[in-house]
Amino acid sequence: MPTKEEMFSAWEKELPKKPSCQSLTEEKIRLKKIKLKKIKKRNALRIEQEYLTKQKEREQEREQEREEREQEREQEREEERKQILIKKTIKEENQMLHNLKVENNQLNSVVNSLKQAGENNYQKQQMLNASIATVKSLNDIDWQLSFDAADRRR
């Protein structure tokens, strides 16, 4: 992009050559000079205007690019937040599954201990039943012996 000065100098080169002083009256020369000055001024203003317009356009482009980059970054951040949330959710789910598994193992272990205790009790109950039967037999024998002894004494 050419600078303001460069554009101005390019425009000056394109201006018509000064007319010869001999063919013009002083007044004509003066008017011509004024006209030339006006043209120069108008052109300078136009160039200035064009320059400012282009600069504004460039700024707008840059602003647009900045906004696009910002949008991209925002999208990236949004995506990052989503990924973090997904990871966090998956972590929570895995943690819940893990906790339930641990609890299940503990409960199964309690059931197994109780089963073992129940089995021990069952064996003791068998022993108890056998002992009760023995006591009953011994009492029967005792009763029979005392009955026999009484019988003999009669």
């Binding site: 299940n104 409960l107 003791k124 011994l138 005392s146």
Partner: protein, 119 residues
């Protein structure tokens, strides 16, 4: 397991727990989810907040939650209740004492008879 437990405890109320266990085995995931809604509000709420979960994980969590609830609230209390009430050790001790006493009685009777016969 239940025939084993029935042998141990021989209690009729075990039947309802056994039926519950059979239901846990046979019921589908939706039925189990209903059970969770009715019995485990915290897990039901947690599941509502994790509706996008992987289905296999979702299934596993539901199955474990139901199993744990049944174990914790039905089977374990039942087993504890029936184990604690029997007090077999004390009964065994008492019967052993009775056995010793009955044996003593016989000894005494036999020695008495022998003396009687000698007279």
């Amino acid at each position: 397991m239940f025939s084993f437990l029935r042998n141990l405890f021989g209690k009729s109320e075990l039947q309802s727990i056994e039926e519950l266990f059979n239901w846990v085995k046979k019921s589908n995931i939706e039925e189990k989810r209903e059970y969770i809604k009715d019995n485990c509000p915290e897990i039901a709420n947690w599941l509502n907040n994790h509706t996008d979960m992987d289905y296999e994980k979702f299934k596993e969590i539901i199955i474990l939650a139901v199993k744990n609830h049944v174990l914790r609230n039905y089977l374990i209390p039942f087993m504890k209740n029936h184990l604690g009430s029997d007090n077999i050790d004390e009964q065994l001790l008492q019967v052993e004492r009775l056995k010793a006493k009955a044996a003593d009685n016989i000894d005494w009777q036999l020695s008495f008879d022998a003396a009687d016969r000698r007279r």
